[in-house]
């Protein structure tokens, strides 16, 4: 049996999970910059990515503070290797086509908005403050990704087919967001964060309503890929993403501009 987690260590893990989710998804979405189907979508994707990177600065900034002296949010983002990341696998999978990118965004935004709503009542006022700030941004991320999922799902024959394929591919990655472990138990005990499993019902109601409107069918299987948020095993895609994201700091340690 594992020794019980110290509260500080569990808190650090929780902050890394929050910050790594927004960091990795923010980077993924930024890959669209200059490549989106139309200018308005390009700007929208870049803005969404920017919000998520901003949120990362707050979560990883607090993580660095909890970690102890000498660490910064930048150190955590640019100098850790794949096995130290704590994001869910959903956010590291490649973008695929525009439809898959927006489906992934919707599946994440729906969870994110519910999670931040709960975190606004956190017993830790720093967590509550970050959640309050981020939730304003995430509200319109969700509005946009849900609108786009409906527009494309209930669109042409081709856009419908692509959105259904995106959902079939991504759905097995949604379940990891609701898995609980001893880090979560510690956070619940301290009143810092909710039990992830407790968000599932609200999530299912929200997601089913939108996907129904999008004329898409949720796969029946509840099988879930996992290993990202615990760090046990990431997909092979994360390493490739990090080589690009961390390249500059790895090649020129400490570079600033």
């Amino acid at each position: 049996m594992n020794a019980p987690l110290a509260k500080e260590e569990a808190f650090l893990q929780f902050l890394l999970r929050m910050g790594d989710n927004t960091l990795i998804l923010g980077h993924r979405v930024s890959e669209w910059c200059g490549h989106a189907p139309v200018l308005e979508e390009d700007i929208a994707l870049a803005n969404t990515a920017l919000d998520m990177i901003g949120q990362t600065q707050m979560w990883l900034g607090l993580a660095a503070e909890v970690h102890g002296p000498g660490k910064s949010a930048d150190d955590l983002a640019f100098l850790r290797d794949a096995w130290d990341f704590r994001n869910v696998l959903l956010v590291e999978v490649p973008n695929g086509d525009f439809g898959r990118t927006l489906m992934r965004q919707f599946l994440f935004d729906a969870w994110h908005s519910i999670q931040l709503g709960r975190l606004m009542k956190s017993s830790d006022e720093r967590v509550a403050a970050i959640a309050e700030k981020a939730s304003k941004e995430v509200a319109y991320h969700l509005e946009r990704s849900a609108d786009t999922v409906v527009g494309l799902g209930d669109g042409t024959e081709e856009s419908h087919r692509r959105m259904q394929e995106a959902l079939d591919y991504l759905w097995p990655y949604a379940g990891e967001m609701f898995q609980s472990d001893d880090v979560d138990a510690e956070m619940v005990k301290a009143g810092i964060a909710p039990d992830p499993a407790s968000l599932r019902e609200e999530y299912d109601v929200l997601v089913s309503r939108i996907l129904n409107e999008a004329t898409l069918t949720i796969p029946e299987s509840r099988f879930a890929h996992k290993g990202g948020r615990t760090g046990a095993m990431h997909t092979e895609h994360l390493g490739h993403l990090l080589t690009q994201m961390q390249w500059l700091q790895r090649a020129y340690p400490g570079a600033k501009w």
């Binding site: 308005e40 929208a44 309050e132 304003k136 941004e137 946009r144």
Partner: protein, 157 residues
């Protein structure tokens, strides 16, 4: 005479800050934007609390630099900038003066209804949303269906 011999009053400092333009929308000041949350003397140190509009806004670093440059230009040497994220910035904090200047400049000011009241160019109420996202994180992209001009709308958050 660049050295300040007596501490400038808090009102004086607010006036100085009201002359610092927002780097992205230079027609309004940082005070108009509502991001200066507090100005106070802590002994000999001037503490200015600033809140970001959007957490990823790239202008944040420039804003901090502009505040510092302006206040140092007025002879303040002992200065501390504090980032304050709670309560989160809201467009309710835009000043009336700032809202009017935005509209003059061609940016529709935020409305509780969630969309612009009228086209900032011709005043028509016949407007339509192009995208929830515009040229900066704080703006959305709209179009007037009468004069056909596209325009920025300052999002209400």
């Amino acid at each position: 005479m660049s050295q300040v011999t007596t501490q400038p009053s808090i009102t004086q400092i607010w006036d100085w800050l009201d002359a610092v333009p927002d780097p992205e929308i230079p027609v309004i000041s940082l005070v108009d934007l509502g991001i200066i949350r507090d100005v106070a003397w802590d002994g000999g140190t001037l503490v200015v609390s600033v809140t970001p509009t959007y957490s990823g806004c790239p202008a944040t670093a420039v804003i901090a630099l502009d505040i510092e440059t302006a206040l140092r230009g007025h002879g303040i040497t002992d200065l501390k900038l504090k980032t304050q994220i709670s309560p989160a910035w809201t467009t309710d904090w835009l000043s009336e003066k700032g809202r009017a200047k935005l509209e003059d400049y061609g940016i529709a000011p935020p409305q509780a209804a969630g969309g612009p009241e009228k086209c900032p160019n011709c005043g028509s109420k016949h407007v339509t949303k192009v995208s929830q996202f515009g040229s900066t994180p704080c703006k959305a992209h709209w179009r007037c269906q009468d004069c056909l001009e596209p325009f920025d709308y300052f999002k209400c958050i």
